[in-house]
Amino acid sequence: MISGRRRTRIRNSALAYVMILPAFVIFMIFVFYPLVKTFYLGMYRVPPFPGLPQKYVGLSQYSSVLSHSEFLTPLWDSTLYVLFTVPAGIILGLGIAVLAHRHLAGIRIFRTIFSSTIATSVAVASVIFFTLLDPTTGLFSYWIGQRGGVGILGNPTWALPAVATVSIWQNLGFAFILMSAALNSVPDDLLDAAAVDGASGTRRFFRITVPLISPTLFFAMIIGVISGFQAFGQIDLLTQGGPDGHTNVLLYQIYTVFFTNADTGTSSVMAVALFVILVLLTIAQFLLVQRKVFYADKR
């Protein structure tokens, strides 16, 4: 005979499994299975002609793809893209947040304006800048004295910085909100005390404000790098990886190799590489968040 308490426990366990089942079915089909499958697909070489059977080549495909320029060049382009977007985005966001931090008449209007780009999606921002950079009708092209030709987005040197600029603009609202919140958390009495002690504004900023908001700065850096490696829409809408592969970032290369070349083997190897890069960055982020909690407890 089962006691009443034990029956309740069994019934509660059954209820719990029913409640987590919907989420777990979706996680199994669309997260865990495809993750394992991507590793697995990376071990099969896709024949150059459709219809022929795929050949098991094991890890050798990993070493051949990962050492080849078709992977290394996009990896370098992604790295450059991150280097262009992340530091500039953080410095601009912080600078504008500092400027808008003090209470002035009408400051709320400025704060709303600075946050406004958070409402634009990657696609919206990209299409707007696509028209501004159009070689014949775009306003920016006109201002820099360019008429016709391939334009900025067709220029091998300037295409990637131009795409990066679009992203910096699109993410400025978020960076501004994040940095403003961080500045709000710095206690005013600490800054006032330093001012009484004769510390200059610059000194107070670098010796008090920056160390206190450093968790937010690290957080912004990590999520900036992660989203930089996931850049796709802006490339697809502005340059399609061109000119001559100069904006062919990692995810765009994966998309092209998979979708255009139908090479699941090579694209899966690259997807696994992207996964490893992003996991390492996420772990770094978790460690930083833990440290932040630790500091807060200590205070």
Binding site: L15, A23, L132, A181
Partner: protein, 273 residues
């Protein structure tokens, strides 16, 4: 005297930055109200003296923005509702029930946060084809109908409810479902609302996945629809920009409506800090 000069300088900087930030949006609005020839005209028109509004109706019908927006609204609303439902249920189990393998299963939920959707597109695309979901709403909704971050956030929020509330509800003869609907949901509506906004915005702004699994105008979301629109002739740029503005407008409205909640959240954090 020196402080007033400083304040003036501060305003000058603020105004310059505001102009730079707003400029692309301003020009997009201006050019959407000009004709194609006027946009190409040099020197450029920086203010539309005779605005032409027909670009918006053209973008809506000829540019299919009406269809794209409808698809996006359907997909984003259903994805949000589905993710909310699965997350609330799972979060409740993790917060209030004891069962075997609980810790492992919770760790698996957290592990999904480590797997960005971009990494798994190749097998997921095949799964969609095998299920016969190419060009359908389920392809756009179901893969995102569960959310690791949603389960995590709601479980944290649920656990902050006082233990006595649960005991009192049990004494009143409440079962788990009644406790969930009558007590847990109403008391956690702030976090549920915050996650709903987050889920809606992430769904609305998706680009790569909808591009992969749809190829007809009837099931294209508005972000991918902009890609179609971008391909119009250069002399139809007013229509392209009108469509872009229509695509951005719902999000501007949502953020404007919920601005007070967002600001309140930020200032509450500031007071606590």
């Amino acid at each position: 005297m020196r402080t007033s000069v400083r304040t003036a300088l501060r305003y000058v900087f603020l105004i310059i930055i505001a102009l730079v930030v707003l400029f692309p949006i301003y020009i997009a609005v201006v050019n959407s109200l000009l004709s194609g020839q006027q946009i190409a005209h040099r020197p450029p028109t920086l203010f539309p003296l005779h605005p032409l509004w027909n670009s918006f109706s053209l973008a809506w019908s000829f540019g299919h923005l009406g269809t794209y927006l409808r698809t996006s609204v359907i997909v984003s609303v259903l994805t949000t509702l589905a993710a909310l439902t699965t997350s609330v249920l799972a979060a409740y189990a993790f917060a209030f029930l004891e069962f075997p393998l609980k810790r492992i299963m919770f760790s698996l939920c957290l592990a999904t946060l480590m797997v960005p959707a971009e990494v798994t597109i190749i097998p997921n695309f095949r799964t969609i084809q095998i299920l016969g979901w190419y060009n359908t709403y389920p392809a756009l909704i179901i893969p995102f109908a569960a959310s690791g971050i949603g389960i995590f956030l709601l479980r944290q929020s649920f656990r902050q409810l006082p233990r006595e509330l649960h005991d009192a509800a049990v004494l009143d003869g409440y079962g788990h479902w009644r406790f969930l609907v009558r007590v847990v949901l109403p008391l956690n509506r702030a976090m549920i609302g915050a996650f709903a906004i987050f889920a809606f915005l992430s769904s609305w702004n998706q680009y790569l996945w909808p591009l992969l699994v749809t190829n007809s105008d009837s099931h294209r979301t508005v972000q991918v629809g902009l890609r179609q629109l971008e391909g119009l002739n250069p002399d139809q740029q007013n229509i392209v920009l009108a469509g872009t503005i229509l695509a951005a407008l719902p999000i501007f409205l949502i953020l404007f409506i919920f601005q007070r909640q967002l600001v309140r959240g930020l200032t509450a954090g500031a007071v606590k800090g």
